[in-house]
């Protein structure tokens, strides 16, 4: 009758994924269906092209960078655990869960630190742990396109690096990055609800 099974048992390794990401059963199921829907040719994994065909993502100025974050280390295939792992960074922070957390366990993927780390690697292309002035310029250029002149963009990039740079090395390290965003409500700005 062409029905879609509502059994989470269809997802391979569902328990370990649940523990790693903290997603609920229902959220995981929805994401699994989404993964299958995006995998238009039924390969069992996602390629860059599959993600690029999402129109709203293709017109996002940072679209390519975001897609890059799903394919770390030059890999070409994105399997379901990998897919969910990245999305887990955007899981809303559960206050209760935070209080009950066992300090010995590794930090959950959606902690403030990890959310910041995700944002940091959108800037830090060469993964050297610092956002250089050049990398800042590149991200700015992506976000403004051809609308802004080179000089204006350079002055904005210079100003931003100067404001955040504390040890004067001309680049923004991860610690400096987190410090400058101390007061920002990261948890709310980088959270997505999976279920409506």
């Amino acid at each position: 009758m062409g029905s879609r099974s509502s059994h989470a048992a269809k997802i391979p390794d569902v328990d370990s994924i649940r523990r790693e990401t903290g997603f609920s059963q229902a959220s995981l199921l929805r994401l699994y269906h989404r993964f299958r829907a995006l995998d238009r040719t039924g390969k069992g994994y996602l390629s860059r092209l599959d993600l690029q065909q999402i129109e709203a993502l293709a017109v996002n100025p940072l679209g390519d960078r975001i897609i890059d974050s799903f394919f770390p280390d030059g890999s070409l295939r994105l399997d379901f655990p990998g897919f969910v792992r990245v999305l887990a960074h955007f899981r809303p922070v559960d206050e209760e869960e935070d209080g009950n957390r066992d300090p010995k366990e590794p930090e959950p993927l959606n902690s403030r630190m990890n959310k910041l780390r995700f944002a940091f690697q959108l800037y830090d292309l060469d993964r050297d742990g610092k956002i250089s002035r050049h990398e800042m310029l590149q991200v700015l250029r992506l976000m403004v396109g051809v609308q802004v002149t080179e000089e204006q963009l350079e002055s904005i990039a210079d100003r931003t690096v100067q404001e955040a740079d504390e040890d004067g090395d001309g680049a923004v390290s991860f610690l400096e990055f987190t410090k400058s965003l101390e007061k920002m409500n990261i948890e709310q700005k980088m959270s997505i609800r999976i279920l409506k």
Partner: protein
């Protein structure tokens, strides 16, 4: 975008601006406006069809009993009746049009062809247990005009043809469809194209222009979206249909999803399994709104005209409007959309930055 970025006007670039775009990007990955339009609409409450059972779980034995009863009724009672009706309808149609086709071109022939078309379409619609409400029948498409409607499934054609005859435009198919197409052409002049001809836009437009130039021919029926959408939204109308000229008669079609899902997901189901699904639903209930005719205004190009018509149809049918191209599930996106986002963002950070430097 401004609200998302920080809610303050007069602000410069900040490190956190990247959050806005990355959140939007990831939201699109989780669910985007377009991909969801190519799968069936999710229902708020279950209508006892397994195919619409997405999030509902096992509730009680009583519900299962009711569902089993529903299955028996649908498959053992309704399906055979519907199949018989469909068979009668199609055979009558083919025979009828072939007979009428023998007559020489005359007004009698046109009259008879209309009678045959209408009768057989009505039988076929009954075969699907279709209940159609027509609104504003005074605006029914006139001869020499072009009828434009949103596309959900091949059944749209049946639904519109029960209330009046149209000239169909489309590709030549093989198999059963091909037989029906060839039969139709004998009785009244439809415009069928070979697959290769369809690629040549100018040829298509030329032939359609010739057709409406007569002013006495039946209105042409076109679905400008070019593909089946799931009836919750209207996507980009291809401008080709709006370049032909003539009067456009928009029509909005909205199906009621509670009784049965009419959307044809062509990548998931082929025609036969689709028809089977439709015939084992409860019914096809839909509303058809005829709208006042529209013509292209001075200084309006085809794209703007297409968007105007699209908005009118979306508003009438209670559908959301999307600027995306439904055919893009197979192609790449235009850069203009990206540029627009970049423009908006630049205006924010530079527009204010230059003001600041002036004050310095």
């Amino acid at each position: 975008m401004e609200k998302g970025l920080s809610g303050l006007r007069g602000r410069d670039f900040e490190l956190s601006d990247v959050f806005y775009f990355s959140k939007k990007g990831l939201e699109a990955i989780v669910e985007d406006e377009v991909t969801q339009r190519f799968s069936s609409e999710e229902l708020v409450s279950w209508n006892l069809l397994t195919r619409t059972n997405v999030n509902f779980q096992y509730i009680s034995p009583r519900l299962t009993m009711v569902w089993v009863l529903g299955v028996i009724v649908r498959y053992c009672v309704l399906l055979p009746l519907r199949l018989t009706l469909a068979f009668i309808g199609i055979s009558l149609f083919v025979i009828g049009t072939t007979l009428v086709g023998q007559l020489p071109r005359s007004s009698l022939k046109n009259l008879l062809s209309e009678v045959v078309h209408l009768t057989c379409c009505r039988i076929c619609v009954r075969a699907l247990s279709g209940t159609i409400h027509y609104h504003n029948r005074q605006y029914r498409p006139q001869k020499g005009g072009i009828c434009v409607a949103n596309h959900t499934s091949p059944i749209d054609v049946l639904i519109l043809t029960t209330d009046g005859c149209y000239t169909m435009v489309g590709q030549v198919h093989g198999g059963l469809m091909g037989i029906i197409q060839r039969a139709m052409v004998k009785a009244c002049p439809h415009v069928w194209f070979e697959r290769s001809e369809m690629k040549d836009r100018h040829l298509v437009i030329k032939r359609l222009k010739e057709h409406i130039a007569h002013k006495k021919e039946l209105p042409i029926l076109i679905f400008p979206e070019g593909t089946c959408i799931n009836n919750t939204s209207v996507m980009m109308f291809k401008k080709g249909s709006f370049e032909i000229g003539g009067t456009i008669h928009p029509v909005a079609i909205k199906y009621n999803p509670q009784f049965g899902d009419a959307f044809w997901n062509s990548s998931k189901y082929n025609m036969v399994s689709y028809l089977l699904r439709v015939m084992t639903s409860w019914a096809i209930v839909c509303d058809v709104w005829y709208m006042p005719p529209m013509t292209r205004e001075e200084g309006e190009d085809a794209v703007q005209f297409a968007n105007r018509v699209k908005s009118a149809i979306a508003v009438q049918g209670g559908l959301t409007e999307l600027p995306w191209d439904g055919g893009l599930k197979r192609a790449k996106v235009k850069d203009t959309f990206k540029e627009e986002q970049q423009k908006n963002y630049s205006k924010m950070i530079v527009g204010n930055g230059s003001l600041e430097s002036e004050l310095d």
